[in-house]
C-alpha cells in the first residue's frame, strides 16, 4: 500500500551533515532523545535502563569507524537518522498506510493510530533508521522535530530540529533542500554533498558533506618541506658563537 503524496513535495525539509566537522560527540543524539521523549512520539522507551542490556529508542545514532589503513586512514564519525527520502520504501511497504510522507514539507512520519507494529518498514529501510518501541508496539522515527520547527511557542530561532540547535561544532544544518537557493542547497553544491547509498534509489533528502582533503603533504599550506638554514652558521655548542639574525637592534 503506497502512501506517497499524490504530487511530489516541492518543499523538502532535511538535514545536511558535515563529516568534515563532526567530532562524534553524541550531543545531537542525546538532545534528540530528550526532546523527543517528551515530544510528538513520547516516550522514547528505554528497556532495562539500569540493567544488563539497556536498549532504548533513539531517533539519531552516531557510528564511528575507520576508513583506510595506518596513519593515512581517517576516523569517521557518522550520525544517522531518517533521511526523509523522496522514494521511501518504508512508506510504500506499509500495509496500513500508517507510514507516510507529508506533502507540504516531505517529512516522513508514522501514524501511530494506524501502525500495527508489523516492522515491515524497518526491514524495508536500507538505512536502519526506524526504531521500534516494544512497549508501545508501534514504530517510531525521526520526525525532523515536527513539533519544534513550526512551534509558535518557541522563538523563531529555535524552530529547528533539536539536533541542529544543540550541535556544538555546527556540523548540522537544517533547511529546504527542494529550494536550490536555500543555504543548505548552496552548502551541498559548494561542498559536494552526497546521497547516502544512492544505489538503493531512495533519493534521500538528507545530505552528507564529505571530509575535505586533509593537508598532510608538503606545500599544502604554502610552507616548504623544511626550513632553510640561516645564512650564518648555527651556534656552536661549546663556544659562544655570534648569530647575525639575533644581532639586531631591537627596542623594547
Amino acid at each position: 500500500m503506497t502512501s506517497l503524496p499524490q504530487s511530489p513535495p516541492a518543499t523538502k525539509l532535511g538535514l545536511v551533515i558535515d563529516l568534515d566537522t563532526c567530532v562524534g560527540c553524541h550531543a545531537c543524539a542525546v538532545n534528540c532523545k530528550e526532546w523527543n521523549t517528551g515530544g510528538h512520539s513520547a516516550p522514547l522507551t528505554d528497556l532495562e535502563p539500569y540493567g544488563e542490556s539497556p536498549l532504548g529508542v533513539w531517533f539519531n545514532r552516531i557510528h564511528s569507524f575507520e576508513a583506510g589503513d595506518g596513519a593515512e586512514g581517517r576516523t569517521v564519525n557518522f550520525p544517522k537518522s531518517c533521511l526523509h527520502c523522496d522514494e521511501p520504501a518504508c512508506v510504500t511497504v506499509c500495509p496500513t498506510g500508517a507510514s507516510y510522507k507529508r506533502e507540504e514539507d516531505g517529512i516522513v512520519l508514522v501514524n501511530p493510530d494506524t501502525c500495527i507494529g508489523c516492522k515491515l518498514c524497518s526491514w524495508a529501510c536500507p538505512y536502519g533508521a526506524r526504531e521500534y518501541d516494544y512497549t508501545d508496539g508501534v514504530m517510531k522515527k525521526c520526525t525532523l522535530c515536527v513539533d519544534r520547527i513550526y512551534n509558535e511557542n518557541l522563538e523563531e530561532v529555535d524552530r529547528v530540529p533539536a539536533c541542529v540547535s544543540t550541535c556544538p561544532a555546527s556540523a548540522r544544518h537544517f533547511g529546504d533542500l527542494g529550494d536550490p537557493n536555500s543555504e543548505v542547497s548552496q552548502l551541498v553544491a559548494e561542498r559536494g554533498g552526497y546521497d547516502l547509498m544512492p544505489e538503493m534509489e531512495m533519493q534521500p533528502v538528507n545530505k552528507y558533506l564529505p571530509p575535505r582533503p586533509a593537508k598532510t603533504s608538503t606545500g599544502d599550506t604554502g610552507a616548504p618541506a623544511a626550513l632553510p638554514d640561516h645564512d650564518i652558521a648555527p651556534v656552536e655548542a661549546t663556544g659562544r658563537g655570534f648569530l647575525a639574525w639575533v644581532d639586531r637592534t631591537l627596542s623594547r
Binding site: 539500569y50 593537508k215 623594547r252
Partner: protein, 976 residues
C-alpha cells in the same frame, strides 16, 4: 495550533505547536567541568527539556551529550536520599538512616575535638568541586593545611607550568583565537575540558578552508578524527617533539625577536658562575630589578625599562659595565636558550625514533608553523597603547595557536613539557596576539601569581585559622611547607622537597599517607564528591585495603573516621562512616567564581551561579550549605557573627552574596555595590543573586576592542585588571621564558642557601628543576622498560561521559556501557590477537583482564581504553550484571601510586616538580586469556549491597510519557 490538514491515506492529526513548558529557569550545567549556561524547561514541576542558553558566554546556546542527559542524572535511582551512619564493617555498605541533626552533631563533635587539639588531624579533600573558593576558605578557617581538590591528579602540570611561565594557562585560563588562527596544534587528549567551547572553536576553524589542524596524540579518536594531520606520537615524548620544533626554528632564525624583547625575559642577564650561589640567577640592581645590556649605550640597563635596545646574545663581563659594583660573567637568557636547543641532540633526526614521528615530518611541521606565523601574519587595524604608554596603530598577529591538556599533564615530565610548549608559543610570538593563544580574564596574572600557601606547624594553632590559604604559589625553597628537619608539613606532602610546586595539592596521596601515618596520622578524612576508592585512585585494590585496614594494636581503623558527601551511590560510599547526602545540580545554589575557576572567555570576564530549579524530593542538603552550617557549629570565625550566631543563616546563597574575601571582593563580580551597579570590586549587594537570575544566571562583561590582545603589556587592559582586583598594580607582566624560581631550587639542591633539601632529594631536584625546558623519559620507563612491558597504556576521555558519573545515566550508558582495550591493528596481528579476544594486561603492579579491539589510528606501542567506564558490581544502583562491571574495566589497578624504591626512598608516581599524578606513564604487556577465561573482566570485587532507602530501579523507563499533549494518539488509543 493543531494542524488539521487531511493526509492522503492517513488521518493523523499533528499538533505542531504543542506547549513546551510552563516555566523556563536558567542555571549552570554540572554534567562536566565546562559549566555551560542552560535553560531548564519545566512542566508541572517536572523537567521537560534542558537546552543551552544562547546568551551564555561559554556555550552560546549549544549543549553536549552530557548536558542533554541532565534529566537522567537528576532523576537517577542512584541518588542518595538521607544521611547515613555506618553500622557494619567498612566496605560492607551496611548503613542506618539517621536524621540531619544527628549527622551534623556527629560531624561537629568529631571535627570540634580535632580543632581543639590539633587542626592538622583533619584532612579535607574535595573532588570535582566547583566551590573551591568556599571549601579552601573553610579549611583555612578551620586551621588545617590538609586541604586540596582533585587538581593534583588532573591538570596541575598544565596550570602550574602555565602560571609560572606566562601567567595564564590552557583551558580555563586561555583559549585559541579560533576565528583567526591559521594553524592549530593540539596535544593529547583534550576532550575532557572546555568541551563545548573547543568543539565550537573547531567548527569555526574548520569552516575556514585555509586553516590547518594538527593533532599530536597516540590515539586517533575524538577531535583527532577531524584533524588535517594526525601525528601518532609515542606517549610521553611530546616534549621531545616540541624541542625538535624549537631546534628547527632556531636553525633557520624563524623566531619573533621583537616579541621576545618586548614581552619576555629573554634579554635578562643571567649569571654564569658554576658552583656559586648566584649561578643561573638574574643579574639585578639594588632595587631588585633585572638588568639587560642596552645596545644603544653598551651598558647595563634596567631590563624592565621601555627605552632600551637589549642585547639578546653574547657574554658580558659585568665588572666592565655599569657602575662597576657588579662582577662576574652574565649572558642574556636567550643566549642560553640558543645554546641549549641548537644542540644536535634536539635535531629532528635525533628524536624521530623516540617520538615515533619521522624527521621529515618534524621538519615539515616546523616549516608550516613558521610559515603560518611569519608569512601569514595578521594585522588588525586596532590602535592600542602598551604598558609604557606608547601608542601602536595596529595589532600584529601570528596566527598559530596551540592547546594541550591531559596527554601532557598526566606524565611525570608534564610540567617541563608544558613549559616547552609555552616556549614554542613565545618563540613564534603567538601568545595573546590575534590568531594565537588568548588569555581569559582574570588572566594574565604575574608569573607566578600570589598568594603563597600556609601550613607549616609554626603557622598552626588549635582553634585558630591559618594565616594564609592551604594552596598557592611558591617562588623558592624558603616558601616550602616543610618542618625544621625538612619533613613535609602536609599530609599529602604537597609543597615539600619531594614535590615543591604542587600548587593544587596531592589528593592522590592522602589515603596512602593517612593510612601509613606518614608524615603523621590523622583523625578524620573528610571528602566531597571524589571517588577515591575507585576510578580516582591509582592502585585501586590497595587503596581499598588501606581504607579498611585495622591497626591490630588499637583495634581501630588506621584511618579512624571518614566523612563523605556525595549525591550518588558511588564506589566511595561503602568506605565512609558518615554520609552527608548532597543534592543534584538542579536543586542548589552555587557560584562559579573568579576566585576559583573562571568561565570567562578571551573577550571578557564572566562568572555565574546555579539556582534551585526544582526542590529536592529527598532528605538531602547541598554540601555547601552543610559546610557553612558546620562552620558555624564549630565557631569558625568567618562563619559566626560577634555573638557567635551563624553569620550566613541563609546558607550558601547568603554566603555568595554577602561574603567578602577582601574589602569589595566577593565570590561574584557582577552587580556589586550598594545599588548593584558596580562590577568587579564593590560592597556586597544583598540582592545580587536576583540580578544574576534576571540575567540568565551569569555575568559577562565585554572588553573594549583595544584591550583584547597583548593583555600582559596592554596599558588599558592592565589598568582594568588592577581596577577589578585581579592584579596588584597595572605593571607589565613579563613572560618567563627562563624560570628563576626553578633555578632557586636547583641551587638549593647544589648546596647553596639556608634552605636545602635532605640529601636524598638533592639529585632529583638538581636534575629536574632546569630553568629552561627539558625533556626526560617518564619515570616508569626505568622500572618497566621496553622489553618486559613493551606497551604504553593510557585512557582517552569519551565526549559523552564525565568521569564515573555517566554510568548511572540511563541514556549515556547506552552510548558507553562497557569499554574495550584498543590496540594498533598491526600490533594485534603481531601478538596474534583478534577482535573480541580477552587478554590479560599486566604491569609490574597488577593485572587486569579486558576484551580486545584493534584499530588503525593508534600508535603501535600503545594500548588505550575509555576512562572511568568500568564500575564495581552493585555500585551506582546498577544491576549486578551491568556491562559496566562485568565487561568494563579500569586501568587504575595497573598503576602504582608510589614508584619502586630509589636510593631507599619511594616517591609518588608523579611529576617531580608539581606532584601531578603520572597515570599516563603506565607500561604493560598483553597475554591472550586462556580458554574458559573469556567473558568477564578482572579483577571483580564483591557486589556492593543496596543502601537503605535506595530507590528501586525501573525495568522500563518511559520518561516523558507524562508530557503527552492533549489529543495525542496514545491518549486517544487509551480512551478507545
Amino acid at each position: 495550533m493543531p494542524d488539521d490538514t487531511p493526509r492522503f491515506n492517513s488521518p493523523e492529526i499533528i499538533d505542531t505547536s504543542p506547549p513546551v513548558s510552563d516555566e523556563v529557569k536558567t542555571t549552570t550545567c554540572y554534567m562536566c567541568a565546562c559549566r555551560c549556561g542552560i535553560n531548564v524547561h519545566l512542566r508541572d514541576g517536572a523537567i521537560r527539556y534542558i537546552e543551552g542558553n544562547p546568551n551564555h558566554p561559554v556555550n552560546k546556546g549549544v549543549l553536549c551529550a552530557k548536558g542533554s542527559a541532565g534529566i537522567m542524572q537528576h532523576y537517577s535511582p542512584a541518588r542518595l536520599s538521607k544521611p547515613l551512619k555506618r553500622v557494619g564493617p567498612r566496605g560492607s555498605n551496611e548503613f542506618a538512616e539517621i536524621e540531619w541533626d544527628e549527622a551534623l552533631a556527629t560531624a561537629s563533635e568529631w571535627l570540634g575535638d580535632i580543632r581543639k587539639r590539633d587542626p592538622r588531624k583533619l584532612a579535607f579533600f574535595t573532588g570535582r568541586d566547583q566551590s573551591q573558593g568556599l571549601t579552601g576558605f573553610w579549611a583555612t578557617q578551620f586551621g588545617t593545611p590538609n586541604y586540596a581538590a582533585h587538581g593534583g591528579f588532573c591538570s596541575v602540570n598544565m596550570a602550574a607550568a602555565g602560571l609560572y611561565t606566562i601567567g595564564g594557562s590552557f583551558w580555563e585560563f586561555g583559549e585559541p583565537d579560533w576565528e583567526r588562527s591559521r594553524y592549530f596544534l593540539m596535544f593529547g587528549v583534550a576532550e575532557d575540558h572546555d568541551s563545548n567551547p573547543i568543539k565550537a572553536g573547531l567548527g569555526k576553524l574548520k569552516a575556514n578552508a585555509d586553516t590547518k589542524f594538527v593533532s599530536v596524540n597516540p590515539v586517533r579518536t575524538g577531535y583527532s578524527a577531524i584533524a588535517d594531520e594526525w601525528l601518532g606520537v609515542r606517549p610521553g615524548t611530546d616534549g621531545l617533539f616540541v624541542l625538535a620544533l624549537v631546534h628547527e626554528l632556531l636553525r633557520a632564525g624563524k623566531v619573533d625577536l621583537e616579541y621576545l624583547v618586548r614581552y619576555t625575559n629573554a634579554p635578562w642577564l643571567v649569571y654564569q658562575a658554576p658552583g656559586e650561589a648566584h649561578d643561573g640567577m638574574f643579574v639585578r640592581n639594588s632595587d631588585n630589578d633585572p638588568l639587560a645590556v642596552d645596545q644603544s649605550t653598551a651598558n647595563l640597563a634596567n631590563a624592565l625599562s621601555a627605552d632600551i635596545s637589549p642585547a639578546m646574545q653574547g657574554s658580558f663581563d659585568l665588572a666592565q659595565l655599569g657602575d662597576g659594583d657588579l662582577s662576574g660573567t652574565a649572558v642574556p637568557a636567550f643566549q642560553l636558550l640558543l645554546e641549549r636547543y641548537s644542540d644536535p641532540q634536539y635535531a629532528p633526526a635525533a628524536v624521530a625514533a623516540q617520538t615515533g614521528i619521522d624527521a621529515t615530518t618534524i621538519q615539515r611541521i616546523a616549516a608550516e608553523l613558521a610559515h603560518a606565523a611569519f608569512e601569514q601574519t595578521i594585522e588588525i587595524d586596532q590602535p592600542w597603547t602598551d604598558w609604557a604608554g606608547r601608542r601602536h596603530d595596529k595589532m600584529i598577529g601570528r596566527p598559530v595557536s596551540m592547546h594541550a591538556m591531559r596527554g601532557i599533564s598526566a606524565h611525570s615530565n608534564g610540567f617541563q613539557t608544558c613549559r616547552a610548549i609555552h616556549m614554542l608559543q613565545m618563540l613564534l610570538g603567538s601568545i595573546d596576539c590575534p590568531g594565537g593563544f588568548r588569555y581569559k580574564p582574570p588572566f594574565p596574572r604575574p608569573a607566578p601569581p600570589g598568594p603563597k600557601p600556609a601550613g607549616r606547624s609554626d603557622q598552626l594553632a588549635p582553634e585558630t585559622p591559618m594565616p594564609g590559604p592551604p594552596l598557592g604559589f611558591i617562588t623558592g625553597p624558603e616558601d616550602l611547607l616543610v618542618e625544621a628537619d625538612g619533613s613535609p608539613s602536609r599530609i599529602d606532602k604537597a609543597f615539600s622537597w619531594e614535590y615543591p610546586l604542587s600548587a593544587h595539592g596531592m589528593m592522590h596521596l592522602v589515603i596512602r599517607n593517612a593510612w601509613a601515618g606518614d608524615p603523621y596520622p590523622i583523625d578524620v578524612l573528610f571528602m566531597f564528591m571524589a571517588n577515591m576508592s575507585w576510578n580516582s585512585a591509582m592502585n585501586t585494590s590497595e587503596t581499598i585495603d588501606m581504607l579498611t585496614d585495622i591497626d591490630p594494636d588499637t583495634g581501630e581503623y588506621r584511618i579512624p573516621k571518614i566523612i563523605y558527601s556525595d549525591a550518588f551511590s558511588s564506589e566511595m560510599v561503602p568506605y565512609a562512616d558518615l554520609i552527608l547526602p548532597d543534592t543534584t545540580y538542579l536543586e542548589r545554589w552555587d557560584c562559579i567564581s573568579m576566585l576559583d575557576r573562571p568561565i570567562s572567555n578571551a573577550d571578557g570576564p564572566a562568572d555565574s551561579i546555579r539556582q534551585p530549579v526544582v526542590a529536592p524530593d529527598r532528605d538531602v542538603r547541598p554540601f555547601q550549605d552543610v559546610l557553612i552550617d558546620l562552620g558555624a557549629r564549630l565557631g569558625l570565625p568567618a562563619f559566626v557573627d560577634e555573638a557567635g550566631a551563624p553569620r550566613y543563616a541563609g546558607g550558601y546563597a547568603d554566603y555568595i552574596a554577602n561574603h567578602e574575601r577582601t574589602p569589595g571582593v566577593g565570590p561574584l563580580a557582577g552587580w556589586r555595590g550598594e545599588h548593584g551597579t558596580v562590577h568587579g570590586k564593590g560592597a556586597a549587594n544583598p540582592d545580587q543573586l536576583d540580578r544574576y537570575v534576571e540575567n540568565g544566571c551569569f555575568w559577562h562583561e565585554e572588553l573594549a576592542p583595544e584591550q583584547r590582545f597583548f593583555k600582559f603589556a596592554n596599558q588599558s587592559y592592565l589598568e582594568y585588571s588592577a581596577k577589578m582586583g585581579w592584579i596588584p598594580e597595572p605593571k607589565q607582566i613579563v613572560l618567563q621564558l627562563y624560570s628563576e624560581p626553578l633555578q632557586k631550587f636547583r641551587l638549593a639542591a647544589q648546596g647553596h642557601g639556608e634552605h636545602q633539601p635532605p640529601d636524598t632529594h638533592r639529585e632529583r631536584i638538581d636534575t629536574h628543576f632546569d630553568p629552561l625546558p627539558i625533556w626526560y623519559p617518564p619515570f616508569e620507563e626505568e622500572f618497566s622498560g621496553d622489553d618486559a612491558y613493551p606497551l604504553h597504556a593510557l585512557t582517552q576521555r569519551p565526549m559523552a561521559m564525565y568521569h564515573s558519573w555517566g554510568s548511572q545515566n540511563a541514556w549515556l550508558r547506552q552510548i558507553h556501557g562497557y569499554n574495550r582495550l584498543y590496540i594498533n591493528a598491526e600490533a594485534a596481528r603481531d601478538a596474534e590477537l583478534v577482535d573480541d579476544d580477552w587478554a590479560w594486561v599486566e604491569s609490574p603492579y597488577g593485572r587486569i583482564k579486558a576484551q580486545i579491539k584493534s584499530m588503525e589510528g593508534c600508535n603501535k606501542a600503545t594500548v588505550w581504553t575509555w576512562n572511568a567506564i568500568g564500575k564495581r558490581r552493585g555500585s551506582w544502583n546498577l544491576d549486578d550484571n551491568a556491562p559496566e562491571s562485568r565487561r568494563g574495566f579500569l586501568l587504575n589497578h595497573l598503576i602504582t601510586d608510589l614508584l619502586p624504591p630509589k636510593n631507599g626512598h619511594r616517591y609518588a608516581n608523579a611529576d617531580p616538580i608539581t606532584g601531578q599524578a603520572a597515570w599516563f606513564d603506565l607500561r604493560v604487556r598483553l597475554t591472550k586469556a586462556e580458554p574458559g577465561e573469556e567473558g568477564e573482566s578482572a579483577p571483580q570485587f564483591p557486589v556492593m549491597e543496596d543502601l537503605p532507602g535506595v530507590e528501586a530501579r525501573p525495568a522500563i523507563l518511559r520518561y516523558g510519557a507524562r508530557f503527552l499533549s492533549p489529543g495525542n494518539w496514545r491518549r486517544r488509543r487509551s480512551e478507545r
